[in-house]
Point group: C2
């Protein structure tokens, strides 16, 4: 197991432990960073509050609080360089995305994020709605998939129509910004709080 200087450097940054200690911990953990941190902590060599970071990425964190302060969104959008992150263009995009998630009430960024159990439950409900329709099975399947597509366009931020221009989706908006800046732009995560709701 070869431990690279880069791995040692990252572990030092994450734990505050010495170089040789980090190297030793990484060797003992066979390169597993989480395990190495645990070893260092057990040896009393790493602080509890240092977090395991992932490879740094640039971007912005922004929030949008709806008038009346009964609803709000916190969002993280990533880009490739600090240069782009600091442009007005990028800041405007992030602000629009936070506003969109708040006003249009998205639950997920993209359809891959919807839990399979929720998708299955939706399918089950659509099938039950059509139970006595007398339509053939292949037609029913098509209708169910159509309803599911509509469901995705309601709960997934990137599939929603953009509230400021419903001729495009939110994904189109992100792609447009990506083309303009020449950087990959990723909506990484958001949360939405509504007063008194789960």
């Amino acid at each position: 197991m070869t431990i690279t200087a880069e791995q040692v450097k990252q572990l030092r940054e994450q734990t505050g432990a010495g170089m040789m200690e980090c190297k030793k911990a990484l060797s003992e953990a066979a390169g597993d960073v989480a395990k190495a941190i645990e070893l260092l902590r057990k040896a009393g060599r790493a602080q509890a509050d240092k977090r395991s970071g992932r490879t740094a990425s640039e971007g912005l964190i922004d929030a949008y609080i709806h008038a009346g302060s009964r609803m709000g969104v916190l969002i993280e959008v990533n880009c490739e360089t600090d240069f782009v992150a600091r442009t007005d263009e990028f800041a405007r995009l992030v602000r629009d995305l936070a506003l969109q998630a708040c006003a249009a009430g998205a639950d997920y960024v993209r359809r891959e994020d919807v839990p399979p159990a929720r998708v299955e439950k939706e399918r089950e409900i659509y099938r039950a709605q059509l139970e006595n329709s007398g339509k053939p099975a292949n037609v029913l399947d098509k209708i169910v998939e159509g309803k599911l597509a509509k469901f995705y366009s309601e709960v997934c931020l990137l599939e929603q129509p953009f509230i400021k221009d419903d001729k495009m989706t939110v994904q189109d908006l992100v792609q447009r910004a990506s083309a303009k800046t020449g950087e990959n732009i990723i909506v990484r995560r958001f949360v939405r709080f509504q007063l008194g709701q789960e």
Copy 2:
């Protein structure tokens, strides 16, 4: 199974379905609200996007974005009346709590929110640190519990020293506001995003 008028009213608000339909669904579901909503949806009588709400509570949702937009917090704090929620006093409290959670890096509101597995992992690490200390078991237990108390005061928002006055805890700050307004004030939830971290 008796279904009260109040239960029917709440289900109507949540689903937009008619009164008799709600009553029937509640009877069939033996009073189980989630089940009743599912029945109504299967019958095509409830909208998919209506959410199950809990009993309304007042308060504010606020956000704090750290300078540079690389860290931010979204927070919900509840009180009992809209009157208190709209006071400057309450708004200041919520703002201070968001700032605190952001700057002091809390992970949870209160110690009951820390996952048992994380507590057990901490205990295990403290015991490993003391393994060769030669101290008797009862002394070791005390030291471990002491370290755990320190851990809680680092990761639980309410147990942290208040950043604007470290002679009091955040819990003290909330209690003070509670005494002043005469209302129960509850920090319900918060999330903290840091750029490029999980």
